[in-house]
């Protein structure tokens, strides 16, 4: 099943690069008082060096939980009770807390949506980056500071030396996001997890940050896992895409396959729901109803109650994620009837 996650054409060839990160059969459960429920189930994927994998879905689909799990940053009450996460040769789930701290910010780093809450408000941005450098690379304070300023230059922060001495609140939203990217990149990680990195930004600033991330990835060959709700961000950035619904993968494909021929009715619904030029003024195809509560999922396919193609079978039996076209996977009983 994890073969699903390798990039197109890479599967089966001898020279396929080893994935920078590989997740297999991961399940995340949340315990709330006496009850517990699954928020992410049967999650598997791999991201190769230099590759961008996007996980797209709406609120509550489990995409952010997946991101946090990779850095073992799950909130209290949530835990991974099945599966494995391999970063290179290391199984992250086998490590003690101290060993995980050695990896975090070093071999795997995270970019959050809201830099104002993710950055420490009482430390200058330079000091935060220098701290990370010193923690993972050692060396003198002076060297760490120089590396921090260099990291800020690397993300094209204007006037990097002066900005390094400023606090997060003194920077604009776009500059703060650049500072957070510098912090994530300062130790040259092999994997970056970016959770909605441009969602809080204005569209002109979003364009700059997307441009910056593409540039940096081209140069460094980092594996990028990008979590987003926005299919247009996916279209601009991804090599491969996983569409999540109610904690599970419902579709997985190479970027052009997904946009040329979305297979799952949920993916099709999402694409029809986006207001866009060509169809301006035409009625949008909305998906009736809302996302089900994760503690109250229907027995069969979680999308069945909102699905135009649902049959009695869909309500009883959950469809497995299957390869319907080469490299193109979907979890739906009705795909071949969908036309």
């Amino acid at each position: 099943m994890s073969g699903a996650a390798l990039s197109e054409g890479a599967a089966g060839t001898a020279s396929a690069p080893a994935p920078a990160i590989e997740v297999s059969g991961m399940r995340i459960r949340i315990a709330l008082g006496d009850t517990s429920f699954t928020v992410v189930d049967d999650m598997s994927f791999a991201v190769a060096p230099g590759e961008t994998l996007c996980i797209v879905g709406e609120s509550g689909c489990g995409k952010s939980m997946t991101a946090l799990a990779l850095l073992r940053l799950l909130p209290q009450g949530a835990r991974i009770d099945r599966g494995a996460i391999r970063l290179g040769e290391t199984d992250i789930l086998e490590l003690g807390e101290r060993a995980v701290e050695d990896l975090r910010g070093n071999r795997i780093a995270m970019i959050f949506q809201e830099p104002l809450t993710a950055l420490n408000p009482v430390m200058t941005v330079g000091a935060q980056i220098a701290e990370a450098v010193a923690r993972h690379r050692g060396g003198t304070r002076r060297k760490a500071w120089a590396a921090a300023v260099e990291a800020l230059r690397g993300v094209q922060m204007p006037d990097a030396e002066r900005r390094a001495k400023q606090y997060p609140h003194e920077l604009s939203g776009g500059m703060r996001q650049r500072a957070m990217i510098a912090l994530a990149l300062c130790c040259a990680p092999s994997v970056i997890v970016a959770d909605e990195p441009t969602t809080a930004l204005d569209v002109t600033v979003q364009a700059q940050i997307l441009g910056l991330m593409a540039d940096l990835q081209r140069r460094s060959g980092t594996a990028l896992l990008l979590i987003t709700h926005d299919l247009s961000v996916v279209a601009e950035t991804a090599d491969r895409v996983i569409v999540m619904y109610a904690g599970r993968r419902v579709e997985e494909a190479g970027i052009t396959d997904l946009f040329d021929e979305p297979l799952h009715p949920y993916t099709r619904g999402l694409m029809g729901a986006i207001p866009r030029g060509a169809a301006a003024g035409k009625r949008l195809t909305d998906i009736p109803g809302t996302v089900p509560a994760l503690w109250d999922l229907p027995a069969g396919c979680a999308f069945a109650p909102r699905c135009p193609l649902a049959t009695p079978r869909c309500k009883i039996e959950r469809p497995p994620l299957e390869e319907h076209r080469p490299g193109h996977f979907a979890a739906c009983w009705e795909i071949d009837h969908a036309g």
Binding site: Q206, A207, G211, E236, T256, I287, P288
Partner: protein, 329 residues
């Protein structure tokens, strides 16, 4: 329906001229005013009956403040608002109440704009009570009818806002705005907090309501896709001013102002084969507290020259009917 950008029907329903909202900047022990944030700095537009005017721009451009000023939720510094032929602003008491009946607002955040301690029926009944419309029984009926109209079940009337999803809460917000049968609704980012599948439901609902009830919308949003979808005409705002206003098709087919161009060019496409190659370069974006002289966009504009620094371009009509504030276009 409308033939050019500025002077649509003979008598527009809502006409705004030279709207200004300035907030004082105070400093020191005595809180002396040392300056002003010119959040909205001379905005003019018309809205016709059953028309949707999109107001688009990035954070801090003054689009939301414009909406709040029109509904009286922030005081106007200057400007003239005419509603259905009558000047607004001079009236008090009953006239003011009557005006407010006819112009309502829907807010972005369906979580904070509904009183968490009121049941839906109370939220929807409040406008009728405030304006003393109908008997108790009639109000009850009106609440149920409106809930049906916006896609809520009447048996949910006893529920509290937290028992609804985000999309349902926005339906409550829309129902509340419609209770008084207004002529204009200011929609301030009404779908920005919603997931895309639910956003489509709400956009479709707004369009249905417009078709049935003939209500006009001032649709404020940062999302160009949404604005393109729902608007008849679009006004682009930058640092407190409208820099371009045109029919929807004209604006999106060929934006004329360099800022409109930048906005459209920064919007990610939905076609992975035609990706933008966005520039990574940093760009300093000025704010309303420190506006550049002359044309406010000149610091980011590839066409800017001496004249743009010295002289502010006026919003003026072009041959194709659009309004534009640029020395070079």
């Amino acid at each position: 329906m409308l033939d050019d950008a500025m002077a649509p029907p003979p008598a527009p329903l809502l006409s705004v001229r030279g709207l200004k909202v300035h907030f004082p900047i105070r400093q020191g022990v005595f809180q002396r005013q040392v300056g002003a944030v010119r959040a909205v700095d001379g905005v003019s537009f018309d809205i016709g009956r059953a028309e949707t005017l999109g107001l688009v721009g990035e954070s801090g451009c003054g689009k939301s403040t414009t909406g709040l000023a029109l509904t009286g939720l922030v005081p106007l510094t200057d400007g003239e608002v005419t509603f259905d032929g009558a000047r607004v602003g001079s009236e008090t008491g009953r006239d003011l109440a009557r005006f407010r009946q006819r112009m309502q607002i829907v807010f972005q955040d369906p979580f904070s704009s509904l009183n968490p301690r009121q049941r839906v029926r109370d939220i929807l009944r409040a406008p009728l009570e405030i304006h003393r419309i109908g008997t108790t029984a009639e109000r009850r009926e009106a609440v149920f009818a409106m809930m049906n109209r916006v896609g809520l079940r009447p048996d949910q009337a006893e529920n509290y806002p937290h028992q609804f999803s985000g999309g349902q809460r926005q339906r409550i917000g829309i129902a509340r705005a419609l209770m008084l049968n207004p002529d204009v609704i200011i929609c301030d980012e009404p779908v920005s907090a919603l997931d895309v599948s639910v956003q489509a439901q709400i956009l479709n609902l707004l369009e249905d309501l417009q078709d049935e009830l003939g209500v006009a919308f001032l649709f404020i949003s940062h999302d160009l896709g949404v604005v393109e979808h729902i608007s008849n005409r679009v006004a682009v705002m930058y640092l407190g001013k409208i820099v371009e206003m045109a029919r929807r098709e004209a604006l999106f087919a060929a934006p004329a102002h360099p800022y409109s161009e930048l906005l459209l060019g920064s919007t990610p496409s939905l076609d992975p084969r035609r990706r933008h190659r966005f520039s990574a370069g940093f760009e300093d974006v000025p704010s309303a507290t420190a506006k550049p002289s002359g044309c406010a966009f000149r610091t980011r504009c590839p066409l800017a020259d001496e004249r743009c620094r010295a002289e502010e371009p006026a919003l003026s009509p072009r041959a194709d009917g659009r309004l534009l504030a640029c020395h070079h276009r």
